[in-house]
């Protein structure tokens, strides 16, 4: 079992191919249909999962950051699109229509849902999982990607060494900006993320007037980068020769598979496929559909009898709702099972 098998994120212990497929489907339906009921399910599911995986603080921070983008999306349609049939009023002689307004709101909801799903995706499908899945389909690209990710972390550490050496020579001044903060070294990503925050050294930096001008800092920044380039290329070619010597790329070699497809994965897959099938039938038959412009039309589907359409619509809403809530429910159920088993000891 991979290291991230904490109860709070039990969803992440499913086979990575399942997780990737899940996010692709849910995000795809959210982005492509813009159906109000499906959007509501998607926003709710993404919000609950984000609260569960990332906590209240991180989720609230993301939502505040998203507010501007959502407002932009909600405003741009009614302000610049005058297609709708129901005219609410005029701005500068241009009609403001109800349909464009509705579409703007739907778009804002869609963006919020998608970006929340992506923030959960980053918690569940870590890059080693992504590479484990795509390593079979595209081995050379997956290897290159994983090497690039690994090198990025190594280079940030090497930058620190180079900067220290340059400082010793008096070429780079204290607090010149690219001091790599001493991370816990646990992960490449956390180190780079830290780099994007103002470093600790900023607190002790000389006042702005004493700092070298930007042109000089740029110059020393690029001097460090070009030293890094030479070092990186030489050590990488040694790596390549070493890989070659150990038989990389020879026929008949297999790769280690860290993830196994278990019975539990099969059950989850069956549930996901069943839900997805109902949603896909409802969408392709256009029984569940939404059109905003020029007129707002909901569920204007093919010529099926009313009862059948009602059943398909209800089924699709239920199935997509369940699908969106599935990760949260799955995590909750694991948590409850753990509590029960612990209390019976």
């Amino acid at each position: 079992m991979p290291a991230d098998s904490s109860r709070a994120n039990a969803f992440a212990t499913l086979h990575p191919a399942l997780s990737i497929g899940y996010f692709v489907f849910v995000i795809g339906v959210t982005v492509f249909t813009a159906h109000p009921v499906l959007l509501a399910c998607s926003v709710l599911g993404a919000l609950l999962l984000s609260l569960q995986l990332r906590g209240l603080r991180a989720t609230a921070k993301l939502l505040v950051g998203l507010a501007g983008l959502a407002l932009f999306a909600a405003a741009i349609n009614p302000l610049f699109n005058h297609q709708g049939v129901t005219i609410l009023g005029y701005i500068d002689g241009n009609p403001l229509t109800r349909e464009a307004l509705l579409y703007g709101v739907a778009l804002a909801a869609m963006l919020v849902a998608v970006l929340l799903w992506f923030s959960c995706y980053n918690q569940v499908v870590t890059h080693e999982k992504f590479l484990a899945v795509f390593g079979r389909v595209a081995p050379a690209l997956a290897l290159t990607t994983s090497m690039a990710l690994r090198f990025a972390g190594r280079y940030l550490r090497q930058l620190k060494t180079i900067t220290a050496a340059q400082r010793g020579l008096g070429r780079v001044r204290q607090g010149d900006g690219y001091t790599v903060r001493q991370g816990d070294g646990s992960s490449v990503l956390s180190e780079i993320r830290q780099k994007n925050r103002p470093p600790v050294s900023q607190c002790t930096r000389p006042p702005v007037s004493d700092r070298p001008p930007v042109s000089l800092r740029l110059r020393s920044g690029f001097a460090v980068l070009s030293i890094l380039t030479s070092w990186a290329l030489e050590s990488a070619l040694d790596t390549a020769d070493s890989m070659h010597a150990r038989g990389y790329g020879l026929p008949g070699r297999s790769a280690y598979q860290p993830f196994r497809f278990s019975a539990r994965d099969a059950g989850a897959l069956a549930l996901m496929l069943a839900c997805a099938a109902v949603v896909i039938v409802a969408l392709t038959s256009t029984v569940v559909s939404a059109q905003y412009l020029p007129a707002f039309l909901l569920n204007q589907g093919a010529g099926l009898p009313g009862a059948v359409r009602g059943a398909i619509t209800a089924g699709a809403y239920g199935a997509f709702g369940l699908l969106c809530l599935a990760p949260t429910l799955f995590n909750l159920q694991e948590e409850v099972a753990w509590r029960i088993s612990r209390s019976t000891i």
């Binding site: 995000i27 982005v31 492509f32 249909t33 813009a34 932009f72 741009i76 349609n77 610049f80 699109n81 005058h82 297609q83 579409y103 998608v114 970006l115 992506f118 980053n122 595209a138 081995p139 690209l141 290159t144 990607t145 090497m147 690039a148 990710l149 090198f151 990025a152 280079y155 930058l159 690219y178 990503l189 780079i192 780099k195 994007n196 930007v214 800092r217 740029l218 920044g221 690029f222 460090v224 980068l225 070009s226 890094l228 380039t229 030479s230 990186a232 290329l233 990488a236 070619l237 390549a240 890989m243 070659h244 990389y248 790329g249 969408l283 256009t286 939404a290 059109q291 905003y292 412009l293």
Partner: protein, 207 residues
């Protein structure tokens, strides 16, 4: 007739972009690149990603494109596309994946591909100012519009100039800063980076 998907412009464009990236992936795998080539591409991608972090003290000023262009000029059009597309992908593992990732990959990849093709031996001379001008222009006229078009497709239902222009207008200042910084980076430090690449290629007898 109701459309199959309401947002078919976005759906179709996303499918086309994914297909283009898929074809590139197929071509890359079929070529069976040698170990040294793979490692070299990975190094250049990592350098481009790290360069995004080195200059964080100047917001919006990113040398990523400059690194991609120099690498592509040195390694050719095919590898240029690989370096560009993978840089978009890998850096988004750090700065956040989102609905923009495929377009960003395509845009970075195309600039790399174009740089490799334009400055191939016996085409344009590899002068400092020519490469810098190319970099600025490609960022402004190719990368910017592609990424902005992705936003247009994401933000609107029916493609129309009316709803598209405010989005393009909002992107102009970002694209201009990115293009200008690419120009400056290439003009000031392009030759140094290129020199480092050439030296290593000579030393290890690559191509």
């Amino acid at each position: 007739m109701t459309a199959f998907f309401t947002r078919h412009y976005y759906a179709v464009s996303l499918i086309l972009v994914t297909l283009a990236l898929g074809l590139f992936a197929l071509n890359f795998e079929r070529r069976r690149p040698r170990t040294r080539e793979l490692v070299l591409i990975a190094v250049l991608v990592a350098l481009a990603v790290v360069s995004r972090a080195v200059f964080y003290f100047l917001p919006q000023v990113k040398p990523v494109m400059a690194v991609i262009i120099i690498a592509s000029v040195a390694l050719g059009a095919r590898n240029g596309f690989a370096i560009g597309a993978l840089t978009g992908f890998v850096s988004n593992f750090i700065f956040g994946q989102g609905p923009w990732t495929p377009w960003q990959m395509l845009a970075f990849g195309l600039v790399g591909c174009l740089a490799g093709a334009a400055f191939a031996p016996a085409r344009l001379p590899r002068g400092r100012w020519l490469i810098a001008a190319f970099g600025g222009l490609a960022t402004l006229a190719l990368y910017g519009p592609i990424v902005d078009t992705a936003s247009v497709l994401l933000f609107t239902q029916n493609l129309s100039w009316q709803t598209a222009w405010p989005i393009y207008a909002a992107g102009v200042s970002f694209n201009a800063i990115f293009a200008a910084s690419t120009f400056v980076f290439l003009a000031l430090f392009g030759p140094a980076l290129e020199g480092a690449l050439t030296r290593v290629r000579k030393k290890y007898g690559l191509r």
